[in-house]
């Protein structure tokens, strides 16, 4: 099987990549990041147990109300929300299996193909590389965290929660294999029948979801009963039900083997066909569609950068994916606060990851040219941040408009969403631009294929940004008296407090941006480092 043959080559490439890490101290941080990620996953696995200990341990009088709230939350979750939450996560997994390959997948090797040109190696490593890169991608990390957290909560009443959590991890492995299979399958369709087949597939998926929504709008959140079935199955996994446990684990294992076999066949057939080259420069069509045809004069750096986003698929595809995801999650799940909370955080994170955090990698050696132009250095950081805010605003407006079209929710929801998204955007954008300037990453982005950040780096940045985003969103939604499932987070002084906190956040971020800009303009080491890192490669 070519997948197995490829694994040996992939291991050699990985070993070579590991040995080429310089300085060697960098290896320590990579190991530390992996251990941290495993720690986070394990920590999430113990989420349910921690919750149970918390609610079963008598507390002092002052904390008794908190204990009661937690107890109420878990009861309501298990009785009413477990199937919807499971349905939601299953939808998200299905969406990632189908949509990631359809709109944003690229067949990058562990080492860029050009660097392997002088090495005698078959194409088989591309098959196992795709699997490896999907396993370590940031989206996979989010998937395993979500599944672990969900299963940990679902098995909160069980004496053997480990089985349910283990089943979640096995399901995650299936999802990764399925995503890779889907990616190779769509690539096969494109190479065999042309790019139109991808568009038709996307139309079929959107049509199917739309039809389901029209036919059974009440069933869609629970994924037509699958959410409930999943929740019951996970809850039933215990040593008493050894037969079910064996059946579930064997089924998932069999699914992995079958998917691996299918990946091998599909990828081998795909690689036998030449890559499809674009006949038309699609960017021209896109730019014209957005009213930015080339004959329109570039009036400054901001417009220059905005045009790049529309042209580079490795930037706009993940943005499109996160927008679709945000809209689907918000609309399908009736604008639950949990979803809006996630969307408020997700939008600025995704934009940061594909844009500002590695902006000098995107500009590449063009950085040298740009900063040699008068006033460009003064304007560059402001323009990068402006473009980021414009995109965040555009996506947020679309999400809000669709929410309004579907549900006409109360004004409080809009206010909370708007204020929390603004606060998250300000903080996350500042973090990203700070990182880009002070600690540029040695990874040049080309116009075709490659992601803006390699998976390991995207993953570590994403983890940090999620922590920051969740804290900020938590504060904002909390102050707004948002409902978090059964929690009625008390509104301190209503939305006035939210606005005050937002203004403080903006003031701090502004101060930090001004300091960063001053440093960027005056500290010679900063630009030298960027030029050395990305400009000269």
């Amino acid at each position: 099987m070519n997948l197995l043959h490829g694994m040996s080559d992939s291991l050699d490439i990985l070993s070579f990549k590991w040995r080429s890490i310089r300085p060697k101290s960098q290896r320590f941080w990579i190991v530390a990041a992996i251990l941290f990620a495993l720690g986070v996953i394990l920590g999430t696995a113990y989420f349910g147990s921690a919750f149970r200990t918390l609610v079963s341990t008598p507390m002092g009088e002052g904390s008794e109300s908190l204990r009661q709230s937690l107890l109420l939350f878990i009861n309501i979750f298990l009785e009413n929300n477990a199937s919807v939450a499971s349905g939601g996560i299953l939808w998200a997994l299905l969406a990632s299996i189908l949509l990631i390959p359809l709109v944003g997948y690229s067949f990058t090797s562990i080492i860029p193909e050009g660097d392997l040109a002088s090495v005698k190696i078959t194409d088989n490593h591309k098959i196992s590389d795709s699997l490896f890169l999907q396993f370590v991608s940031s989206i996979s990390f989010v998937q395993i965290l979500t599944l672990t957290g969900l299963n940990s909560l679902l098995t909160i009443g069980s004496d053997t929660p480990g089985l349910g959590i283990f089943a979640g991890w096995a399901l995650w492995t299936v999802v990764v294999f399925a995503t890779v299979l889907s990616a190779w399958f769509f690539e096969f369709l494109v190479r065999k029948f042309g790019i139109k087949s991808k568009i038709i597939a996307l139309a079929v998926i959107v049509g199917a979801v739309g039809t389901s929504y029209l036919v059974a709008p009440d069933q869609i959140a629970g994924m037509f009963g699958l959410g409930e079935a999943y929740a019951s199955l996970v809850q039933s996994l215990s040593y008493d039900n050894f037969g079910i446990v064996t059946l579930v684990i064997l089924s998932l294992f069999a699914a992995i083997v079958v998917l691996g076999f299918l990946i091998s066949i599909t990828a081998t057939k795909t690689l036998q066909m030449p890559e499809k080259t674009k006949k038309k420069d699609r960017s021209k069509i896109l730019l014209a569609r957005f009213g930015l045809a080339q004959k329109n004069k570039i009036s400054g750096i901001t417009q220059f950068l905005a045009n790049m986003i529309l042209r580079q698929s490795n930037i706009w595809k993940p943005l499109l994916l996160s927008t679709v995801f945000s809209i689907v999650m918000s609309v399908v799940f009736f604008a639950f606060y949990q979803i809006l909370f996630t969307v408020s955080t997700l939008i600025p994170i995704m934009i940061s990851l594909v844009w500002s955090i590695n902006i000098f990698g995107i500009l590449g050696s063009g950085t040298n040219w740009l900063v040699s132009l008068p006033d460009a250095r003064k304007k560059l950081l402001g323009s990068i941040v402006t473009v980021q805010y414009i995109i965040i605003a555009m996506i947020s407006v679309v999400v809000i408009a669709l929410l309004f079209a579907f549900y006409q929710p109360e004004i409080d929801i809009y206010v909370n969403f708007l204020l929390a998204t603004t606060a998250c955007s300000v903080v996350i954008t500042q973090f990203a631009i700070d990182k880009a300037v002070k600690n540029p990453y040695r990874y040049r982005v080309h116009i075709r294929g490659e992601s803006v950040l390699p998976p390991n780096k995207a993953f570590s940045y994403m983890a940090k940004l999620f922590v920051i985003g969740f804290i900020i969103a938590g504060i904002m939604y909390g102050l707004g008296g948002a409902q978090w499932s059964a929690f009625d987070l008390p509104s301190v002084t209503g939305q006035i407090a939210q606005v005050i906190v937002l203004l403080i956040i903006i003031a701090i971020a502004r101060f930090r941006f001004v300091s960063l800009r001053r440093k960027w303009l005056t500290d010679t080491k900063i630009l030298q480092n960027i030029v050395k890192t990305v400009g000269s490669s």
């Binding site: 420069d281 960017s283 021209k284 080339q294 004069k297 570039i298 009036s299 400054g300 750096i301 220059f304 045009n307 790049m308 986003i309 042209r311 580079q312 930037i315 995107i362 500009l363 590449g364 050696s365 063009g366 040298n368 040219w369 740009l370 900063v371 040699s372 132009l373 008068p374 006033d375 460009a376 250095r377 003064k378 982005v445 080309h446 116009i447 075709r448 303009l521 005056t522 010679t524 630009l527 030298q528 030029v531 050395k532 400009g535 000269s536 490669s537």
Partner: protein, 252 residues
Amino acid sequence: MSEKNELNNIPLDGLIKVEDLTVSFNGFVAVNSINFSVAPGEVVGILGSNGAGKSTTMKALAGIIRPESGKITVDSHILTNLREEEKAKRVLGYCPDVGGLVVGATPREHIQLLLSLHKREGDYDLGLYLVEKIGLSEFLDTPVGGFSHGMSRRLSVVLATLASEKVLILDEPFDGVDPIGVDSIEKIIQEAKASGLAVVVCTHLQSILTRVTDKVVIMRKGTILQELPSSELLGKEGEARYKEILTTVAGE
């Protein structure tokens, strides 16, 4: 009478003056106390072995990296602070050694941005003329990420030429360019010289460099070994002399 640097006996007047320039990266001295000047209408070439500090010198001249010590004057602006750097950038055009283009943008967008920042939108037709001259007209709206190395070099030269009002800095402009492209770039340099621009060209291609420059500065390990008229490095004899300069000093 022109001011002279005692060590190298180099006249230090001109549109570009480099005095005791030292540039280092994290303790590594890339350029060590070099001096030279370029007068209006003069073309100076920088030759040297790999890692000689040529491109670092060019970056410092373009105001991208700041010297650790010494002085660079471009059109009477001393590049020691941002304000002066920005003033100097208004009169200079720079072609970086590698790429120097934003892969996601088209040649037309590069030209438009450059003219917008130079506040010279009226020169748009001149930009199109230069693109045509260098043979890239049909790729005006193609993202440069799809360009070959030679095409990118040619466009970089065009952008530098378009930007330069008094000073033109070309780092490896001939690298990977076909013979027709080399001819076009040579013509551009000659026209720049005729227009009174101070031009600095850095390349490994000695034969081309000696053809297009008035004098040549030879560098090795961050220092200037010799400065001599280009005519002394012409032909096979010149080639032998260049090698001799490099190896003699290297073997000292």
